[in-house]
Structures are given as C-alpha cells and as structure tokens.
C-alpha cells in the first residue's frame, strides 16, 4: 500500500543522505581507532590508511597501560555508575509507583516538585553541594558522586516511570490485593517486572551522562584513588599531548567500553524510546 508509492529515486536519495551522515558520525571514531594501532611514523605518513603488517604497532597501548592506573579508573567509574543507576531505578520506581497508584493529598504537588529537577540543572547548586560534602567529610569519596548522580537522575526517572506505571492493569494489582499481598509485594513482585522495558530506557538515559560527566568528578572527587575514567583520561591525555601513540590509544581505551555497552543496549533503547509509538 503506502510502500508502493515510494519511488526508487526517492529511496536512493534517502539512502545517500543517511549514508553521508553516518560517515560523518563514524569517521572521527574510525580514524582514532585505526591510528591507535599504528607506529608513530605511519600515523603521520598516511593517517587514513588501515594498519598493515609493517605499520602495526602497540606501543601506544603499552605506554598507556604502564603510566596511568586505567583499571583503577575504570573500576571507579563502574562502581559509581552501577550504584547510582541502582538507586535511581529503585527510588525512582518506588516514587513513581506511589504517585501513579495512590490518590492522596499532595500527589500532584509532589509530582511537580520532583519534575522541577528536569528543567533546572543540578550543576547550579555546585557551590553549595561542595560545601555540603566538605561539611560531611565526603569529598574525594565515590559516595559523594553516587549521591549527586542519584539526585540528578531521579526527576527524569520518576517522570518516565510513572507514565509507564499508569499502564499496568488495575485488575492485576487488585487480584493481588484480594489474595492478601501487601502493597510492597505488589510493587516488587507484580509491577516492577512489568515495567522492565521502561526501566531499561531510564537506565540508558541515566547512565550516559553519569559515565561521561567531567564536572562533578573534577570538583568533588579529583584525588588519584577515586578518579573516574572520564576525568582520568582527561588528565592523562593532557599530560601526553605530544605522544600521539599514547593519546590515540588512551582515546580508544576510553571509547571501547561505552561502545560495547551501547551496542548491547541499543535495541532496548530504541524499543523504550518508541514505546507507546507502536501502532
């Protein structure tokens, strides 16, 4: 039906535009990756050539892994991201359930209060957050970052999840109540598993800014032992501006983990974004 009307010419034009933009999007990443495997001479002689047997060189990677504590940074980033994600999802889902399931005085107001944070960035409170962390002795701990990112992620999580929780069938929940399940059991056993796709979307949207953040690690946790990989590679690359092999290898090492995670989750992400848009 609708499809037959699309002419071959239009389709070719569409593909041409999309391929061009895909090349623009991927080209820089590609250049960095191939050059990180080349010797210094080859990097400059032919920056766009693939590494060959002659030009293949891992010197960049060995320098990087010897110099910086990349595994330590990676571990810190993992701990912060996973812990913040856990708290955002669990606290966010609980609040979203309360707001979408029960009628009580102040429901709308609480919802608006929590949604405020979507529009106002937490960064503007940095000055006072730093004072708070200094006062509570949390500066240079991963805990400080986890708390900040949890607060930062909650507004959007509550907003998205409560939309989805409204769609969970009332009959199911009431059947649970008749069977004598407590409200807590209904939430954890019945509702949570049903909103899993929405949780995945929230997870991706929350995770990317946390993993990539430079501002709060720089301000709240700049010490060597608690550096995240984003801050770590920033400092590291800054020191090695003239060692091109090392810089390219450090960039590749920073790109790969996110890339792998994204490729694993990308289907979930698309499904989550377009959920509700299915005709």
């Amino acid at each position: 039906m609708a499809q037959a009307r699309i002419s071959a010419g239009q389709s070719i034009a569409a593909h041409a535009v999309l391929i061009t933009y895909t090349l623009i999007a991927l080209f820089p990443v590609f250049v960095i990756l191939i050059n990180s495997f080349k010797s210094r001479k080859a990097i400059f002689a032919e920056p766009l050539a693939l590494p060959t047997r002659d030009t293949f060189d891992l010197i960049g990677y060995t320098t990087v892994l010897k110099q910086g504590d990349f595994f330590g940074y990676f571990q810190n980033s993992m701990i912060v991201t996973v812990a913040s994600l856990f708290f955002v999802l669990i606290f966010g889902a609980m609040a979203a359930f309360a707001l979408s399931e029960y009628r009580f005085r102040g429901n709308l107001l609480t919802g608006l209060y929590l949604a405020l944070g979507i529009m106002i960035p937490i960064r503007l409170g940095t000055v006072a957050i730093l004072e708070l962390m200094v006062a509570s002795g949390l500066v240079n701990t991963l805990m400080a970052l986890i708390l900040v990112y949890t607060a930062q992620g909650l507004p959007l999580a509550v907003f998205i999840l409560s939309e989805f929780m409204k769609q969970v069938s009332d009959d199911l929940k009431n059947a649970g109540r008749v069977d004598g399940l407590s409200e807590y059991t209904i939430f954890f056993r019945l509702v949570l598993p049903l909103v899993r796709p929405a949780m995945a979307t929230v997870a991706v949207f929350t995770m990317i800014p946390i993993w990539n953040d430079l501002w709060f690690p720089l301000i709240l946790a700049p010490a060597e032992s608690v550096k995240t990989i984003t801050l770590g590679s920033q400092v590291f690359i800054g020191q090695f501006v003239t060692n091109w092999n090392a810089v390219l290898a450090a960039l590749s090492l920073a790109i790969l983990p996110v890339l792998v995670l994204y490729l694993i989750f990308s289907r979930q992400l698309i499904r989550g974004i377009t959920a509700g848009a299915v005709k």
Partner: protein
C-alpha cells in the same frame, strides 16, 4: 469499607527515599547557592550580608561585566548554532528514517547515535586531533576535493573557534533530536497519511503540510532541552580549550566563566560568592527561557489527538 481512614504508611515509604535524596542534594544546595550570592567575604574572613550588590558588581563593574556579557553573548551564539544546525539536521534524519520500508534503518539509527554516547573528553580531543594542522587530516581531506586553501586552524582563531566548537557539539548531540522526532513521527496514524495521499499530498509537501504541524510539540520540547543543555555547557569547551576558554576568551561561555570564578584559575583567585552570583544569574536565565517556552510557546502549540 471501614469509615475511618487509616494512615497509609506505605505511600510515605515509597516516596521517602526519592524525596529525601532529591531535596537534600538538589533543592537545598540550589537554594544554598541563591543564598550564598547575597553574601560577601569580609577581610576578617567572616560572611557579611550585602544584598544584591554582588549582582551590581557582576552586571556593572567593568572588571566583571565585560567577561559576563562576553560569556553570555558567546553562549547565545552557541545556542543559535544548535538551533539552526542541530535541530534541522535531526528532523531531516528522523524524517528519512521514518519512511516506510527503508532498509538498514536500524543500522543508521544506531550509527548516528554513537557520537552522543561518547564523553566530552573523547569528543573534544578527537576533534582537536582531526582539526590540528600538525596531523593534517582535515587539510589533507580538503586537498582531495581541491579546497585546501580554505583550511585554517579553526580552533586557534578567535573568529572561528566558538563556531567550530558549537559544530562539534552539534555533531555529538544530533542523535537526541533525531531519536525524539523519530518517535514522534511514528505516532502519526497511517490513516492520516493515507487521507493526505488521497488528496494528492505526498513527498515533501506531505512532510511540510501534514507531518511537521503534527510533531511541532516535540520540536518545542527539543528546543527547550537544547536551551537548558547549552546554557549549562562546560565540558566540551573545558576539554578543548581549557578553563581559560581561549583564544583570548573567545570561546568563554557561562559554564567555564562559573568554573573559573568559583575555583580560580592560574593568577585569578577563587571567589565562592561571585561564583554563586554567576550560578544564580544562570539560574535566572534558564528560568526565564523555560517560562517563555511554557507560557509563550507551549500554550500556543496545537495538539492533535488521534
């Protein structure tokens, strides 16, 4: 049902963790910042209430106001570039992706979104390397198409640096408008499009006359998200040009100005009170922008229900 209403403790239990963390880490510090901007440090290292005089200094004192208006102007240009380049490209890509029976749509979607997941650190350095006259990828590529004379060390020239960085940021974030518009386009029912086709409205005119009016609310949301994001930007400039936002402050935006003021940089000493004043000014700017959108634009957008 028993006539007496019990206190339903489970509601409080469900709400408490989120509300507590959010209030303690986000709302209270935000007000703390607003409050801090009303004080100043005396020579005896005590706090002194000065009312709005910090704002007078920021907007009026030539030592501060020059830097502030420069940062604000640069930030406005940064935003304009995003609105003129990022959002139209995002809408175009989404429109192409949503055409039915397009092959490899999933591949394009995944690939075009990849820059968005990369950190500013990576993006900043990657583009610094590519645009670097030393490595010569950019001049080399321009040479292939015969435009080598156009090459300039863009990031190092006062006239071009900010625009170049804004375009790098566009490259990074074009995936977000693309995804949101894509989702919006998928919600348009087939019947509407078929009816349009019966009336002979197809192709480009179908996009302009039918689809675009229907997705305008999403375009509005993207604009306000771009606005909030741009007026908070810091990372890309910091990574590519450092906290001094060179060359000669030509890429200084509010985020880097706040960072430099609060923490100090090189010869400049950090000043928490002026830092808080700048943060409050940013808060005000964002609030004004959001209000203009909510009351001036959003209420005028027509929504269609199917």
């Amino acid at each position: 049902m028993s006539g007496r209403r019990q206190i339903r403790w489970h509601i409080a239990v469900f709400l408490a963790p989120a509300v507590l963390v959010y209030t303690a880490i986000m709302i209270v510090p935000l007000f703390g910042t607003l409050n801090l901007s009303l004080f100043n440090q005396t020579p005896e290292r005590t706090k002194e209430f000065v009312g709005l005089s910090n704002f007078r200094t920021l907007f009026g004192d030539p030592r501060w106001s020059g830097a502030f208006w420069n940062a604000l102007g640069n930030n406005a240009w940064f935003f304009v570039v995003h609105m003129l380049v990022q959002n139209p490209i995002g809408i175009l890509l989404a429109a192409l992706l949503s055409s039915p029976r397009l092959r490899m749509a999933a591949f394009y979607r995944t690939a075009i979104f990849i820059p968005t997941i990369l950190s500013f650190v990576i993006v900043g350095f990657v583009w610094k390397l590519i645009l670097s006259p030393i490595w010569g990828i950019a001049p080399g590529m321009l040479d292939v198409v015969g435009l080598k004379s156009l090459f300039a060390p863009w990031l190092g020239k006062e006239d071009y640096a900010l625009t170049a960085l804004a375009l790098v940021s566009v490259w990074q974030f074009v995936g977000i408008p693309m995804m949101l518009i894509y989702a919006a386009l998928l919600t348009i029912p087939d019947e509407v499009l078929e009816a349009a086709e019966m009336d002979g409205i197809t192709g480009m005119s179908q996009f302009w006359k039918i689809k675009l009016p229907l997705i305008l609310p999403s375009v509005g949301i993207i604009s306000i998200l771009t606005f909030v994001g741009n007026f908070n930007a810091f990372d890309l400039i910091y990574v590519a040009q450092g906290a001094l936002a060179g060359p000669d402050f030509s890429t200084d935006i509010l985020g880097t100005f706040l960072y430099r003021t609060f923490f100090g940089f090189q010869l400049q000493l950090g000043d928490p009170h002026m830092g808080a004043t700048i943060a409050t000014a940013m808060f005000g700017i964002i609030l004004i922008g959001v209000c203009i959108y909510l009351f001036g634009i959003q209420t005028r957008l027509r929504r269609y229900q199917f």
